[in-house]
């Protein structure tokens, strides 16, 4: 539906809440929810004389992100005040970073794409404090201000205008989500506002190298809304441009109920933020030692893990993609492999049994009733032929709903595969005795028909053995008996 004459140019600013337990400049808790204003202190409330003191973990997390995208870490970085009046901004200025962010230029490598790797330029990433929230719709036409969120550390990650479609944007956001959760620097929870997105959109004629006038859509908090907002805004701009009009540079808001963007009224007053270095905080110096210690403690990142999974586990790209969807899944998978030593079997089981069941019951990996080790042990029983795959599935299902240990279940229900030649022989004999008609048919039949009938006998044997008879042994004995 996109007009082939136009090229969409998109840049993103993602506000990522960092997973510290206290605020960026005060010792108040950052936990989500809570009675309004119960997680505030003199600093968060901008009481007279209150002063900010910087949280080391917020700095560490910013550096981890920078290292994660191979960005330049600025040895000196400076906090600035961004001055404007708004009720959710108690000081009348936001402490942010303007000229000297912690993280400089870097590259974000996307791998969940048709091409192997797609690169997005990261302009910068800087630390700042989150604002509070306005609560509307009560109090007789007034708004209520809750400052619990004020002062939560944010990392604002700014990209170059490198996206050409909303699909790429979504890929990036998902990959970013993956990276920051792998790093453990954010829970990345969009619904709770841990990851919020400002989208800058402009259009230009295909082949034109100048950028068109852009609009900025603020504060979108779900992948779906990002996609919709972009789609609406692109069409809106095309309509304007095709009619010979001009796009106005402005800040817009995405209204998910009406599925449209519209200008933000609060941004209509021209603002002049009067940035200047925050005199209550001194310059931050980051030593090489500090950086190298962080570098040494970095976890394996998604892209590296992706490559390793394909290489060492001999699984397909698609499989790897699914298994890397979160760090928890990847860790789970690796423990299953380590326990049962069959990477392909593990991959199939984790995807088709585990993830399917988790999705169905809306659980996350850590809530799985069957631990990775338990699943690994169960699969090792398939590997060493103690049980069949089919039995394993039954055991898995039963263990899942009963929240029991699968191995104990196997013991308890005597579900171990029967390999014993004599036992199986007895059952086979019984089946042959019971089905003399079929035996006759078999003996008279051609090869093709014989195969079908053999299936029937195997089925009967399995039924009588409660599925526990080793199919190989069953086949072997049946073949022998029927050719007698």
């Amino acid at each position: 539906m996109l007009d082939p004459n136009w090229e969409t140019v998109i840049g993103l600013e993602v506000h990522l809440q960092l997973a510290t337990s206290s605020k960026i400049f005060s010792g108040s808790s950052t936990s989500f929810g809570g009675t309004p204003n119960s997680q505030t202190c003199s600093v968060d409330l901008a009481m007279p004389g209150a002063l900010p003191v910087f949280n080391e973990l917020a700095l560490r997390y910013a550096v981890m992100f920078g290292l994660g995208i191979g960005a330049q870490i600025n040895k000196t970085s400076i906090f600035d005040r961004k001055n404007y009046f708004y009720p959710d901004l108690p000081k009348g200025y936001q402490i942010s970073q303007f000229h000297h962010p912690v993280v400089g230029r870097g590259t974000f490598e996307l791998f969940f794409d048709d091409q192997d790797i797609y690169k997005i330029g990261i302009t910068r990433a800087h630390l700042e404090e989150d604002a509070g929230k306005s609560v509307h719709g009560h109090f007789d036409g007034k708004s209520g201000i809750d400052l619990n969120r004020a002062g939560t550390p944010l990392l604002e990650i700014v990209t170059d205008p490198d996206f050409r479609s909303s699909e790429q944007v979504i890929y990036y956001l998902k990959a970013l989500h993956l990276l920051v959760t792998y790093l453990g620097i954010s829970d990345g929870n969009m619904a709770e506002g841990s990851m919020r997105c400002d989208v800058n959109i402009s259009l230009r004629k295909k082949g034109d190298c100048n950028l068109g006038t852009r609009t900025e859509i603020k504060n979108i908090n779900s992948f779906r809304f990002v996609e919709r907002a972009i789609s609406f805004e692109v069409n809106r701009q095309i309509d304007i441009l095709e009619d010979g009009g001009k796009v106005i540079q402005e800040t817009r808001l995405y209204d998910s109920e009406l599925d449209e963007t519209r200008p933000m009224r609060s941004k209509e007053i021209a603002n002049d933020y009067r940035y200047f270095p925050e005199p209550d905080l001194l310059p931050i110096q980051i030593s090489d030692d500090y950086i190298s210690k962080i570098r040494d403690s970095m976890p394996e990142l998604p892209l590296a893990k992706y490559r390793r999974f394909i290489e060492t586990y001999d699984i397909t790209k698609d499989d790897a993609e699914i298994l890397l969807a979160s760090k928890e899944i990847a860790d789970y998978y690796e423990e299953v492999v380590a326990t049962c030593a069959d990477s392909k079997l593990s991959s199939n089981w984790v995807q088709t049994e585990m993830l399917a069941k988790l999705n169905k019951s809306n659980l996350c990996v850590s809530q799985s009733p069957i631990s990775a080790r338990q699943l690994g042990l169960l699969l090792s029983k398939i590997v060493d032929k103690t049980i069949s795959g089919k039995i394993a599935k039954q055991v898995f299902a039963e263990a899942w709903s009963a929240e029991e240990d699968p191995l104990e279940l196997i013991e308890k229900k005597e579900l171990k595969q029967v390999d014993d030649f004599d036992k199986i022989h007895t059952i086979v004999q019984e089946v042959i005795n019971k089905n003399t008609d079929q035996v006759k048919q078999y003996l008279a039949a051609n090869d093709q028909k014989r195969k079908k009938l053999l299936g029937f006998f195997v089925g009967q044997v399995m039924q009588l053995s409660n599925g526990r008879a080793n199919p190989k042994v069953v086949n072997q004995i049946l073949n022998q008996k029927l050719s007698e």
Binding site: M47, P48, G49, L51, I145, R274
Partner: protein
């Protein structure tokens, strides 16, 4: 025995320890004087007699059981810029006329821990913006030496309270001279410590990179005692310096032999009153007699200090004062029509003219298109000024000069002339821009009004300043001259 209200903090401390009098007697003595005399000076904004006496009773129990801290039982007045839990902290403004902080400034906590008693909160220029204590919402404060004169400012209430013997000591803050200039005008001793020496937490901000709290008292010896209580790193203030705890009282008996004092009188002679020059020269002779070596120096960059200051201070202030918006505390206009109206009217009705003017100037110099031309430029010149001081202080141990242009001026004489009021800060703002410690001590009386000299020291070398000031006060009695007889005249 000397009357209680005439005694220094050190004398009161010794008297309390020797049980010559109780803390309750001391506290009552000052409260009584405030009640009977402060209508003449308007030095105090808030007094809480009950609280003060309750604290005195506790102090007396401590003294009786021998659990004395540094200042146990001694009443101290605090500039109304330091937040005091449960006690109104107005900053001299209508904006905070109803503000009772639920927390203490670090300086106040330290005084509480030292056993001191909060005598009351002193008058000041609104948000510390002024040099005369005339811009207070609570009315002008008057100089105890001559009530037609200003006490100086912005810590004018603290200075007047000490001069009128309504308090033995007080806290002040100094952004461009607000401790030193009123100390000079009121004939007392006041120290602006090195930037970072004293926590700014809970001290209502005027200009964050310039503000510094400090002690004001009759003597340098008392200032040293107060410094022992006030100073030290504070985890709540990122700009407080990580320095070893010092005993400022321990270093007050050093001879001045070999001490090099840089003298800047040539730079300022053209602007100085002749009588004041005589006082300064007399003080120099005294310092020389005490063993100091005088070296003439020049600080040409200092002529840029006042304009530099009047860019940086309003810029920081314009931002610092944005939090006063009528939402969470302080003044809120009646029946705001909308959000913009709430902000604009609360601020316009809550702030006085000088504060508004400085907010506008600060907003202007930070605004797009002017930032580099004014703000960045001023910060560059600030470095030149600091470098010049540092270079001088490599050759000399301290720099001596006038604190002010002359003795206290008449009330109302400068209120309509901003520039002339700003130029009052000519000799003091340099130390704020450079972050250096500076002390003002009395050196004479001109037409029944005192004048002081200023000594500027090296970074974190308050100790040497206090020692020189103390040695000077051992040898002279200007600091003992008092306005008090006039109270009863």
């Amino acid at each position: 025995m000397m009357e209680i209200h005439s005694q220094s903090i050190a004398q009161l401390r010794d008297g309390l320890r020797r049980k010559e009098f109780s803390s309750e007697e001391v506290t009552r003595a000052f409260l009584k004087r405030i009640k009977s005399l402060d209508h003449l000076y308007n030095a105090f904004i808030t007094i809480d007699e009950k609280e003060a006496l309750a604290a005195a009773a506790i102090a007396d129990q401590k003294i009786a059981s021998g659990r004395n801290e540094v200042l146990t039982g001694i009443p101290i007045a605090h500039k109304d810029i330091f937040c005091t839990q449960g006690m109104k902290t107005s900053c001299g403004s209508k904006m905070l006329a109803n503000f009772v902080p639920p927390y203490n400034a670090t300086v106040i906590s330290k005084f509480n821990d030292s056993g001191a008693i909060i005598l009351g909160k002193t008058n000041m220029d609104e948000f510390a913006m002024g040099g005369s204590t005339e811009t207070s919402f609570y009315g002008a404060c008057f100089n105890p030496w001559n009530t037609k004169k200003v006490p100086g400012g912005s810590s004018g209430g603290s200075a007047a309270a000490i001069a009128a013997l309504l308090a033995p000591g007080a806290t002040g803050t100094d952004t461009g001279g607000s401790i030193r200039q009123p100390s000079s005008f009121c004939g007392i001793t006041g120290l602006k410590p090195t930037y970072g020496r004293i926590s700014r937490f809970g001290m209502i901000a005027f200009a964050s990179s310039l503000d510094q709290g400090g002690p004001m008292a009759k003597t340098a010896e008392d200032c040293a005692l107060l410094m022992n209580v006030m100073s030290g790193i504070d985890p709540k203030d990122s700009t407080s310096a990580n320095k070893e705890k010092e005993d400022f009282s321990a270093n007050l008996s050093q001879k001045l032999d070999g001490l090099k004092i840089g003298v800047t009188l040539k730079d300022c002679s053209a602007n100085l009153d002749r009588d004041y020059q005589i006082c300064l020269e007399r003080a120099l002779t005294q310092l020389e007699k005490l063993g100091a070596e005088l070296i003439e120096i020049s600080l040409p960059k200092n002529s840029l200090a006042v304009p530099t200051y009047y860019v940086i201070a309003p810029a920081e202030a314009s931002s610092n004062l944005s939090r006063f918006d009528g939402v969470r505390y302080g003044y809120r206009c009646d029946n705001p029509e909308n959000l913009l109206d709430l902000y604009t009217r609360s601020r316009s009705e809550g702030f006085g003219d000088e504060v508004k003017r400085r907010i506008l100037i600060g907003t202007y110099v930070l605004s797009a298109g002017y930032y580099d031309q004014y703000y960045t430029k001023a910060q560059r010149i600030r470095r030149l000024i600091r470098n010049e001081y540092l270079s001088c202080l490599r050759d000399v141990d301290m720099i001596m000069g006038p604190t002010t242009a002359g003795p206290a001026f008449d009330i109302g004489s400068k209120s309509n002339d901003s520039i002339s009021m700003y130029l009052e800060d000519t000799y003091t703002v340099g130390a704020n821009l450079a972050g250096l410690p500076a002390i003002s001590i009395p050196i004479g009386v001109i037409n029944e009004c005192p004048v002081g000299m200023q000594l500027i020291g090296r970074d974190f070398d308050e100790s040497t300043l206090l020692n020189v000031a103390h040695q000077f006060q051992v040898a002279t009695d200007w600091h003992l001259q008092s306005s008090v007889e006039r109270d009863y005249a």
